[in-house]
Symmetry: C2
Subunit: 345 residues, 2 copies
């Protein structure tokens, strides 16, 4: 394990010069820099993060706080973050809340974030009031992916707009009976997004004067199995909807499975639209509102990186793009399907 000292000796300069040369700082003659670089290469020198962290105050790592890793959206964001970070030489430090449900208190002021990372990127979390203020007063750059938080930088789709777009699509196809599968996840970590989408659904239906039955809302907890079970119940009622707006593609898959099991044809008897454009959605022919979590992760990384570089972007949450992708799970509502009681086998 060569140290900066070894490199200094081998190249006949001081450790200070080695440090400068290797980090590309100014005030190093080209020849010296070259010589140092060669010595470093020959020795296989790698600076110790602990040492440079201790003396510079920078760790070279950023923490990514996720509610769980088992959801497509989150893994995509993490990969996006990691990719962007890596390019700048930063390491990704994972803080998975799913593995320590009890440990949320003092989360952000705790070790990991405060001393291990130069910045924090938090995703899809419904923060408590205490956490929000912790986040705002953190001594390091912070970025949020998902529902925006006033006073903090972040990126995410406009959930109301996304929901509206999905519902508009169903309405355009003539659907009047539109259900929603949504709901918060098992740890209550992601309510904000779920709430925004559910609220948008209610508002849209109300504003358009469409019927809004209580049992047209089902909680799928952002999970396929749970969504399928919920849909199974909902779709077996006599007054079943002709269209379902699912809060995520994974939940939409659950609805699709339920419909298939009940012999309800999609899209002839039931239209389904999701949110995300999951990597499997095309295989399911799912109509959905696409967003790009990988891109959002990279954007969040860019925000904290910019702050670290001394060029902080404005503190406004930025809106990520979304786009309706029409595929095979949505179609015009059957005209005959007007009477509450009519259904096929």
């Amino acid at each position: 394990m060569a140290s900066i000292h070894d490199v200094a000796q081998r190249s006949g300069v001081s450790t200070a010069t080695v440090s400068r040369a290797l980090r590309g700082l100014p005030n190093v003659s080209p020849v010296t820099r070259q010589r140092v670089q060669e010595a470093a290469d020959a020795l296989g020198y790698i600076p110790s993060p602990s040492a440079s962290g201790l003396s510079s105050g920078r760790t070279g790592a950023v923490a990514v706080v996720v509610p769980s890793l088992t959801r497509w959206f989150f893994t995509e964001v993490v990969e996006g973050v990691d990719a962007a970070l890596r390019v700048e030489g930063y390491d990704t430090f994972l803080v998975d809340l799913a593995v320590r449900p009890g440990e949320r208190e003092r989360l952000f002021s705790h070790t990991l974030l405060r001393k291990r990372a130069d910045a924090v990127i938090a995703l899809g979390i419904r923060f408590t009031g205490a956490e929000r203020s912790e986040l705002r007063s953190l001594p390091v750059p912070v970025a949020i992916v998902g529902a925006p938080l006033a006073g903090l930088r972040g990126i995410g789709v406009d959930d109301a707009a996304v929901s509206r777009s999905a519902i508009q699509h169903l309405v355009d196809l003539g659907h009047h009976r539109i259900a929603h599968v949504g709901g918060h996840d098992r740890f209550g970590l992601d309510r904000s997004v779920a709430d925004l989408r559910e609220r948008a659904w209610r508002a849209e239906l109300r504003d358009r004067g469409l019927p809004l039955l209580d049992h047209w809302f089902a909680s799928g907890g952002f999970l396929l199995p749970q969504s399928k079970a919920a849909a199974l119940t909902m779709l077996q009622r006599p007054d079943r909807p002709t269209g379902v707006f699912a809060g995520s593609d994974e939940m939409a898959f659950g609805v699709l499975l339920a419909a298939a099991e009940l012999g309800i044809r999609v899209p002839e008897d039931l239209s389904v639209v999701g949110i995300d454009d999951h990597s499997w959605s095309a295989a399911f022919h799912l109509t959905t509102v696409r967003q790009d979590p990988h891109e959002q992760g990279a954007a969040a990384a860019a925000m904290v990186l910019a702050q670290l570089a001394g060029t902080p972007p404005p503190i406004a949450p930025i809106a990520a793009p979304h786009e309706l992708i029409v595929r095979g799970t949505t179609a015009a509502a059957a005209r005959s399907r007007r009477l509450p009681a009519d259904r096929d086998a």
Copy 2:
């Protein structure tokens, strides 16, 4: 940001005693320890990982190297690792190879692993010869999750046995025409497991004297969409199989989707069995061979932790349990389905 110094002052002892007291080392009187602890709490003191890392040589973090995060198996393992690590106070560093396909060279001897982490856990990677020797000569504990590597500690199911169990199940049901959907993933990172399963399939069929047609092997790349496409082709041929052994549940889902699209009934016309018991498999009624990646991750973490604690377990890869879970996608082969050319619409 209180330092150890502040705590020492406030509690009226030396920094050395603070260090000892807080880390639970012996030779500290109960009263002193208590007083130190109170001072630390009052000050909100958190030791700096950089500083303690620099002086102790231990970073308090372990690196997890994954081929990608977008596969169920890997995310489960990572969560298992993180959970086990967290309990012991270690942090998890993510090294996602998917985000830097070009950067595999010198991977293990590179910064992250060498100076950032006290140990390395690598999953589902088909290492090059160079990487293998790098891994073996790494100055830190290493554990592998997945296909075993001679000379290294690790855990994983016996892929041959798992495959045999799946195929045996199909044979027991009277299937003679058994296809396989397998294949390595996009980065060539996980060939070993794919190869083991494919080889087991070939060997089993050969040993039992069952037909083994070339086009009964399809490469699904461990991805649903690709598996669906491959199955679509395979299942449309006149000599289609009556049973499909998929190398993972995600690939099995693809086969299921393809079958549904072609109007091939499962399990009446086609039986499908996977490997994993993915969290969605029950919703698909998929018969599969269960394994527990979360558990495997935790076990791998325990291995490196034990080494770090000075009680290294034996260097034999250990076999993780697996179990056939029979659900609804497999059934007795139709007796009429003997002639190569017969098929329904």
